[in-house]
Symmetry: C2
Subunit: 204 residues, 2 copies
DNA sequence: AGCCAAACGGAACCCCGGTCCCGTCACGGG
DNA sequence: CCCGTGACGGGACCGGGGTTCCGTTTGGCT
């Protein structure tokens, strides 16, 4: 970081852009540092020195995403807020660039601890942004006081990711709608009571 | 398939076993046909001729899993049935061999249409086995008549997969319990009304 | 028991991603 | 405006995965 401006920054941008393009064209298995260097018009040695592994490049990509977080909805109604969230998640997963990047990151995170941490930070940030939708609903008296806000937010995303990853189907607007309303209904029924603290371990 | 017994079968078993072992040791990125041949004590040429790609080997692995499907629960109570299902899903994902295999398959399916089809068949079969838990509840009058049974079953799995894949956390028993009760509560509230038929497209 | 098609296995070959070495270039301070 | 440090880039080398060819083995079938 001693020379953040100028050529170094250009190289970084070129490589990250090339990585995004290659991800769409070839998918994660087609990514290799030599190919990235070619695409980026950059010396092969440079890529190996600065990143060293494909996972590190992806980790760098997701770092950028953490900083650009869209604002949450604030409609004053839980259903509408969660519908907005579900719509955002659906748009992200459906978008060719963002969707491919996220699925690639999920796959990479399975085998690389660094990527897993970066991805987790990203999702934690995203979740934190939307949590107020739930805590506001609690404050309004629409939900039980001991509702686990983060869990509700994650419950909106889960079915959409599940559909994409296990069924190979792009989630549609109807799917997003159902995901939001299911989470809201369960929350009102008190099914998200109390945070879970025991019984979870991090993956090897 | 003209010679299903004898040497051919032994080779197939050896390679599939080697693939399972390698998946645990090295993860999906570490799999390559040459390495599988070495591990299996089999000619490299044979592996390339019979399968040709890593994805094809995984597809073959999942085909075996489709046939061995555990029986569904039938307790006469929706909550208990879904709790049993959630427990099964949790056990599967937590089990080193099964869990790694499933995550690897999901990753492979992202970039390979054949693997995606095989994986989809697997999940469709699993879902079909557990659907009666929901339809029985409908028949008992515990759920609305237009409840989408398959969606409810999938809703139980979704949060557990989501937690494993996006947060790198093994789902615990408390997570499984919550997943089941959330799905049940939402179903009772009528949030799973009517099958979704529009707005979904298969991935490229 | 013997035949033959089909599958297996060894070995050489090619290709290319990963590594190393060293010369060159540009940013930023003095 | 110049100088030094640190990053970039080219090129050669190495290892191993993927492909091909051909000889060998096997197991079903008559």
């Amino acid at each position: 970081m001693s020379r953040p401006g100028g050529r170094t920054a250009r190289v970084r941008a070129a490589v990250l852009a090339a990585a995004g393009d290659a991800l769409i064209e070839l998918g994660l298995p087609g990514l290799d540092l030599a190919g990235l260097a070619r695409r980026a018009g950059v010396g092969k040695t440079t890529v190996y020195r600065r990143w060293g592994t494909v996972a590190a490049v992806l980790e760098d990509l997701v770092s950028d995403m953490v900083e650009t977080s869209a604002p949450r909805a604030d409609t004053g109604d839980l259903d509408d807020d969660l519908l907005a969230n579900a719509g955002l998640v659906r748009s992200t997963l459906t978008d060719p660039r963002q969707g491919r990047l996220l699925t690639a990151l999920i796959c990479a995170a399975v085998d690389d601890a660094g990527t897993a941490r970066a991805l987790r930070r990203f999702y934690d940030a995203r979740t934190a942004v939307w949590e107020p939708c739930v805590t506001d609903a609690v404050a309004r008296g629409d939900l039980p006081a001991d509702t686990d806000a983060a869990a509700v937010v994650r419950a909106v995303s889960a079915p959409l990711y599940h559909q994409l990853l296990t069924r190979g189907e792009q989630p549609g607007v109807a799917d997003a709608r159902r995901a939001a309303l299911v989470a809201a209904a369960a929350a009102r029924a008190g099914a998200f009571a109390a945070p879970v603290s025991a019984g979870a371990r991090r993956t090897s």
